[in-house]
């Protein structure tokens, strides 16, 4: 158990999913191999995929919790770099769930979304027919009917 993980990452509301700290430590190590830091993007652990973002993921997808716990239990003696290959062979469902948990946690992090410039799922007022080029459209009409009379 890492006390730092408890104080920094796990503190939160009472309804937090029950994932042991050892499992979070394991996840942090595996996740950083899946999504390491780049020049512009943080590593998975820095984006909180084993901490708050894990809680975000599991609150929205409680069904993933037991796949995570199973993945951890199956590979508890495996070196982190071998974990994904081993899971793919032993338990593809747990393997896929782990990918989803790591990517799901990472890409729901607002800082990551900001760095990517992703502003989807936010309301934008629709400009009525303002981006349709009438000249292009009239050339489609000039080319004549496309359908068969029947």
């Amino acid at each position: 158990m890492t006390t730092q993980a408890v104080s920094v990452d796990v503190a939160g509301p009472a309804d937090e999913p029950a994932v042991p700290d050892e499992c979070r430590d394991w996840l942090r190590r595996v996740a950083d191999l899946l999504i390491p830091a780049s020049e512009t993007m943080p590593a998975a652990s820095d984006a909180g995929v084993a901490a708050r973002q894990l809680d975000v993921v599991l609150r929205s997808r409680p069904d993933l919790t037991h796949h995570l716990l199973r993945a951890w239990t199956l590979t508890v003696d495996t070196d982190p770099p071998e974990v994904m290959a081993e899971l793919r062979a032993l338990d593809p469902t747990a393997h896929d769930a782990l990918c989803l948990i790591v990517a799901g946690g990472y890409y729901t992090n607002p800082r990551v979304r900001g760095l990517l410039g992703y502003t989807g799922q936010q309301p934008h007022v629709v400009g009525i027919a303002e981006d349709i080029d009438e000249e292009l459209l009239s050339r489609v009409i000039e080319r004549g009917p496309r359908y068969r009379e029947a």
Partner: protein, 534 residues
């Protein structure tokens, strides 16, 4: 016990349209729907976890989603997974609202191309109904599309085509190929008390604005205002039939698990092309051992689902291609009609849709390969916002071995036998898709794509469920007549996507609802001749 003049089973697209027309005409209408009313506040569009929820509780597959209202489907023997939603509004709750019509040739494939069968009606017969349902649902689009015969313009102007639409429009302009702003059942402006689209880009997990048309918004409130009764969480097991061969009502399960009866003079099935044959086959009795309305043996047969391919181009610049309504920005009908120089008949419509958010970009479902480790960020950068994809809806020719049957052991939670689907993509469809993939690749290259990824058959693409109780004039080769009336049981109607004779190569819902309106109004007009139980 419940009682009504008309019992409708299913409150989805066709059920909502039929209920409104009948309630308007003064009929006492009762509808039994296995799902609940949608709660727009629950739709995930505005939550950061939207892409995670889309893969489970908001999946189009009842087997993945497993809501209380869903029944399971054995799809192990199907190339394509059937997708649908149970609730008021039906599968329209999750649909993408791409709203094209069938073309004139789609109704005449036997006469024109020597395959499958002609419909017992033509495009011109349906056109007035298309125009009325466009108004009722609030369709946005641009009039004058040369892919279609002349007719009334959609009631609302087109939605934005976005950077991706414009780029592909210019490419098709250079190629001399057809393109057109896509007709969508999504509001581009306020309409009938509903708010317009604000481009969340999450239409396939429910539209929180109510900008996307579905019958829970566009039809059921009016139908209920006219006296129609809608009972939700009511799961129909089977239709009951008298010795005289008339439908007398249905047996159903209430949410507390108790069984009940709804009696009616006329029964309308609107449970979609999987749910309807399931009910008819579950209604087998000593008088109808093969299932109800099944003297032709075609109930459940000829399932068509539109095999779907996706061709995606990679571009250098960020076009925010995750943005906007999900149905289609623009469409292309350049290769829709049969060309004798090709090694297949019929064709496909292309739809240009957004390519998804960051989770979609990161996971192998879109990429086709894993990209973890040091390459991960470059992989996401390539995909997110910098891709354009053509979705190709190929015409699916009917084949009696593609079928909905009853599973020998699987049941829903009430013990009612569940459906099993057998579906294989035919040889004509495969050649058709391969040709279209090659043309879509040319299109994207012309637009400047530096790389192309192809999904030559998407398994989770069974959005369009059609053909399992086909219409026709001959009772030996069809289940219902051109107005959805069963040849065998004169007070039993089918008004959902099951009645399609052939599939066409376009999204079907505008045609499903136009047919439902035509059938319901025919029932109203002929009410005095309608045989009913004593």
């Amino acid at each position: 016990m419940e009682q009504a003049e008309v019992l409708i089973i299913g409150a989805g697209a066709s059920g909502g349209v039929a209920a409104t027309a009948l309630a308007d005409a003064g009929f006492d209408v009762l509808c039994l729907e296995q799902g609940t009313w949608p709660d727009r506040a629950e739709f995930p569009a505005q939550r950061v976890t939207y892409e995670l929820e889309a893969r489970k509780q908001w999946s189009g597959s009842p087997n993945v989603r497993r809501n209380a209202g869903d029944y399971p489907i054995d799809d192990g023997d199907s190339d394509i997974v059937p997708l649908m939603y149970a609730g008021v509004g039906g599968s329209m709750t999750l649909y993408a609202a791409d709203w094209p019509r069938l073309l004139p040739s789609d109704f005449r494939v036997r006469s024109l191309d020597g395959v499958a069968d002609d419909w017992p009606l033509r495009y011109a017969d349906l056109r007035p109904y298309y125009e009325r349902t466009d108004v009722a649902f609030g369709v946005s689009g641009a009039g004058g599309d040369p892919a279609y015969p002349d007719g009334a313009e959609p009631p609302l102007p087109p939605l934005p085509i976005g950077q991706t639409g414009l780029r592909m429009a210019r490419a098709h302009d250079r190629l001399g190929w057809h393109w057109w702003p896509a007709a969508q059942a999504v509001l581009s402006a306020p309409y009938a008390g509903r708010r317009p689209c604000v481009q969340y880009g999450a239409c396939m997990q429910g539209c929180p604005e109510g900008a996307k048309a579905s019958t829970d918004l566009t039809h059921w409130p009016a139908a209920i205002g006219k006296g129609a009764r809608l009972i939700t969480e009511a799961r129909v097991a089977r239709i009951l039939v008298s010795r005289q061969g008339l439908a007398t009502g249905a047996e159903f399960v209430r949410p507390d698990g108790s069984w009940d009866i709804a009696r009616a003079d006329v029964v309308i099935l609107a449970a979609n092309a999987v749910g309807t044959p399931r009910i008819l086959l579950n209604s087998a009795s000593p008088l109808h051992p093969q299932g109800l309305a099944n003297s032709s043996g075609l109930v459940g047969r000829r399932l068509m689902v539109h095999p779907f391919a996706n061709v995606m181009g990679y571009f250098d610049d960020d076009m925010a291609s995750w943005n906007g309504h999900v149905g289609a920005k623009i469409t292309c009908y350049e290769f829709y009609e049969t060309d004798p120089d090709r090694d297949f008949v019929r064709g496909a419509k292309w739809s240009l849709a957004p390519t998804g958010g960051p989770l979609n970009a990161a996971l192998p479902t879109r990429a086709g390969e894993d990209a973890w480790g040091p390459e991960h960020h470059e992989h996401v950068r390539r995909h997110l916002g910098r891709t354009i994809s053509w979705g190709i809806f190929g015409e699916d020719l009917p084949d009696e071995s593609n079928a909905v049957e009853l599973d020998s052991s699987l049941t829903d939670s009430s013990g009612i036998p569940a459906p099993k689907i057998t579906y294989k993509v035919g040889a004509n469809s495969r050649r058709l898709l391969d040709f279209h993939i090659a043309r879509a690749t040319e299109s994207l290259r012309e637009a400047g794509a530096y790389d192309i990824a192809t999904e030559s058959l998407m398994r989770y693409s069974g959005w369009h469920l059609l053909g399992t109780a086909r219409m026709g004039a001959d009772p030996a080769t069809s289940v219902v007549d051109e107005f959805g009336r069963s040849h065998d049981v004169p007070n039993l109607y089918v008004m959902d996507g099951s009645v399609f004779v052939t599939s066409g190569g376009v999204n079907p819902t505008s045609t499903i609802v136009a047919l439902a309106l035509r059938s319901a109004e025919h029932l109203v007009a002929n009410r005095r001749q309608q045989r009913i139980p004593a």
